[in-house]
C-alpha cells in the first residue's frame, strides 16, 4: 500500500516540474521579446547605412591542420545591390556583385569572369544570404535560422540553421558580434559541421562615405 507521504512526495515533484516548465516557458518568452527588440533595434540602426567601406581579416581554420589561413582585404557595400569583396593577401582578388551579375578577377590569371545570377539560382541563393548578413536584415534570416541572443550589450547573436534549411547541410552556427555603438558588425564566426571555422573581423569601418566608382569596375591589369 502506498503511503500518504509517498503520494505527497510524488505530488511535490510534479508541482516542482510544472513550476520549472512554466519558468522555462516564461524565460523563453522573455528571450523572444528581448530578441525581437534587439533585432528591430539593429535593423533600424543598420537601415541608415547607404554605403560602407570596411577592412576585414578572415581566418579560416581547417580541422585537418593546426594552423589558420589568413586572408585580408576590403569590403564595399552600396545599397541596394552593390557589393565588392577585394582580397589583398595572400593574393589579389576582386569580386563585384551588381543586381544580376558577379564579376571576378585575380592577379594570377589576370582574367575577368562574369557569372549571371539569374542563370545560377544556387549562386543567387548564397549571394542573397551574404547580402542579408552584411546589410543587417536579420528578420529575413529567421526563416532559415533559429536565433539566440547571447549578449545584449554589446549585442551578440547566434544563428543556428533550421534542420530543413539549405544551410543546415554545411553550417553548425553563425555568431555575429556587433560593435558597441551597434552601427555595424564587429565579427562573424561561422562554425561548420566539418569542424572548420571561419572568422571575419571587420576593421577600420567607415559608414555612409562616398565610394570611388572605380571599385565597381573589374578589368584585367595591363602589364
Amino acid at each position: 500500500m502506498i503511503k500518504l507521504s509517498q503520494i505527497f512526495i510524488v505530488l511535490l515533484i510534479i508541482l516542482m516540474s510544472i513550476s520549472a516548465i512554466a519558468q522555462e516557458t516564461d524565460t523563453e518568452a522573455k528571450n523572444k521579446i528581448g530578441l525581437d527588440k534587439v533585432l528591430s533595434r539593429l535593423e533600424n540602426k543598420m537601415s541608415g547605412i547607404k554605403t560602407l567601406k570596411t577592412g576585414f581579416v578572415q581566418e579560416k581554420e581547417l580541422a585537418v591542420f593546426n594552423n589558420k589561413i589568413v586572408l585580408k582585404g576590403t569590403v564595399y557595400i552600396e545599397k541596394p545591390y552593390r557589393l565588392a569583396w577585394l582580397v589583398n593577401k595572400p593574393l589579389k582578388y576582386s569580386m563585384v556583385m551588381s543586381e544580376d551579375t558577379i564579376s571576378q578577377w585575380d592577379e594570377d590569371t589576370n582574367k575577368v569572369q562574369k557569372i549571371s545570377l539569374s542563370k545560377n539560382p544556387a549562386f543567387e541563393a548564397v549571394i542573397g544570404q551574404m547580402r542579408e548578413w552584411f546589410s543587417g536584415t536579420y528578420t529575413q534570416l529567421m526563416k532559415e535560422y533559429n536565433v539566440i541572443l547571447l549578449s545584449d550589450k554589446p549585442v551578440s547573436l547566434k544563428f543556428v540553421p533550421k534542420p530543413a534549411s539549405f544551410a543546415a547541410n554545411v553550417i553548425k552556427s553563425v555568431t555575429v558580434d556587433f560593435r558597441k555603438d551597434e552601427q555595424y558588425i564587429n565579427k562573424i564566426l561561422i562554425e561548420e559541421k566539418s569542424g572548420d571555422t571561419t572568422s571575419l573581423l571587420f576593421v577600420d569601418t567607415h559608414l555612409n562615405i562616398p565610394i570611388d566608382p572605380a571599385v565597381w569596375r573589374v578589368a584585367p591589369i595591363v602589364r
Partner: protein, 223 residues
C-alpha cells in the same frame, strides 16, 4: 619554299604545345663542365626541407579555362604523407584530401570537382609528382649537357629525368618519359631560403597526357 613552310608550321606547333607563358625567372645558364654530379645531388638533399607546411596560390589551366585558388599543403617527403586543401579567394573550401604512400583519401570536394574523372587520384598524383622524390635514386644514370646535369632512372615503363642547373645547380625540372615522349614535367623556379631550407617560389606542372597545367606560387612557409 616548302622547307620554309614546314619550318614555320613547326615553330607554330611548338609554341602551341610548349610556349605557354612562364611567369617565373628561369635559372641562369652556367657551365657544369667541372661540376661533380654526386656532390650536386648530396648538396641539394641537404638544402631541401623534409617536412613543411606551405601556402600557395594555384592556377589550374585546362582547354583555355582557368581556375584560381589558394592551396594549403602539409607535406612529409620522408614518410610520403600529405594533407592538402584548396579554398577559393573568398575563403570557401573547395577540396580536402590526405595521402599516404600510394593511397589518397578524399575528405571533401565540391560536387563540380567530382563529376568528371578521378579527382582524388589526379590531385594525389600531382602532389606526389611535385613534392615527393625530388632526388634521383642511388645508381641513377647521369649525363651532362653544356649547362645541365641530367640524372635518369627507369620506373616501370617510364623514365624519370632530373635536371639540375643554374648558379647553385638546383633541381629545375623533373620529367617523365614514356616511349621517348614527355608525358608530364614539373619545373621549379626561383628558389628561396625559408627557415634554412630551400623552397621554389614558382612551380609549374605540365600534364601533356591530359592537357592541363598547374601553376603554383609560394606565399608562405610554415615549418
Amino acid at each position: 619554299m616548302l622547307k620554309y613552310f614546314f619550318a614555320i608550321t613547326g615553330i607554330i606547333l611548338l609554341c602551341l604545345n610548349g610556349c605557354s607563358a612562364i611567369p617565373f625567372k628561369k635559372a641562369i645558364p652556367v657551365s657544369v663542365e667541372n661540376v661533380d654530379p654526386e656532390i650536386v645531388k648530396e648538396q641539394f638533399a641537404l638544402k631541401m626541407a623534409d617536412k613543411f607546411q606551405i601556402i600557395n596560390t594555384i592556377v589550374f589551366e585546362y582547354k583555355g579555362q582557368t581556375l584560381s585558388f589558394i592551396g594549403y599543403s602539409d607535406v612529409d617527403t620522408k614518410e610520403k604523407i600529405f594533407t592538402v586543401a584548396g579554398i577559393n579567394p573568398v575563403g570557401v573550401k573547395l577540396f580536402e584530401l590526405m595521402g599516404e604512400k600510394d593511397k589518397t583519401v578524399l575528405k571533401f570536394a565540391i560536387e563540380d570537382f567530382t563529376k568528371k574523372g578521378n579527382f582524388t587520384e589526379a590531385v594525389g598524383g600531382d602532389i606526389r609528382k611535385i613534392f615527393f622524390d625530388r632526388l634521383p635514386e642511388t645508381g641513377a644514370k647521369v649525363y651532362k649537357k653544356k649547362n645541365e646535369i641530367v640524372f635518369t632512372q627507369n620506373e616501370g615503363d617510364s623514365i624519370i629525368e632530373y635536371v639540375f642547373a643554374g648558379q647553385d645547380n638546383l633541381l629545375v625540372e623533373k620529367r617523365c618519359l614514356v616511349d621517348n615522349k614527355t608525358v608530364w614535367s614539373v619545373n621549379y623556379y626561383e628558389y628561396t631560403n625559408k627557415n634554412g631550407k630551400l623552397h621554389p617560389l614558382g612551380i609549374i606542372l605540365n600534364n601533356f597526357k591530359y592537357g592541363y597545367r598547374l601553376i603554383l606560387r609560394l606565399k608562405e612557409v610554415r615549418s
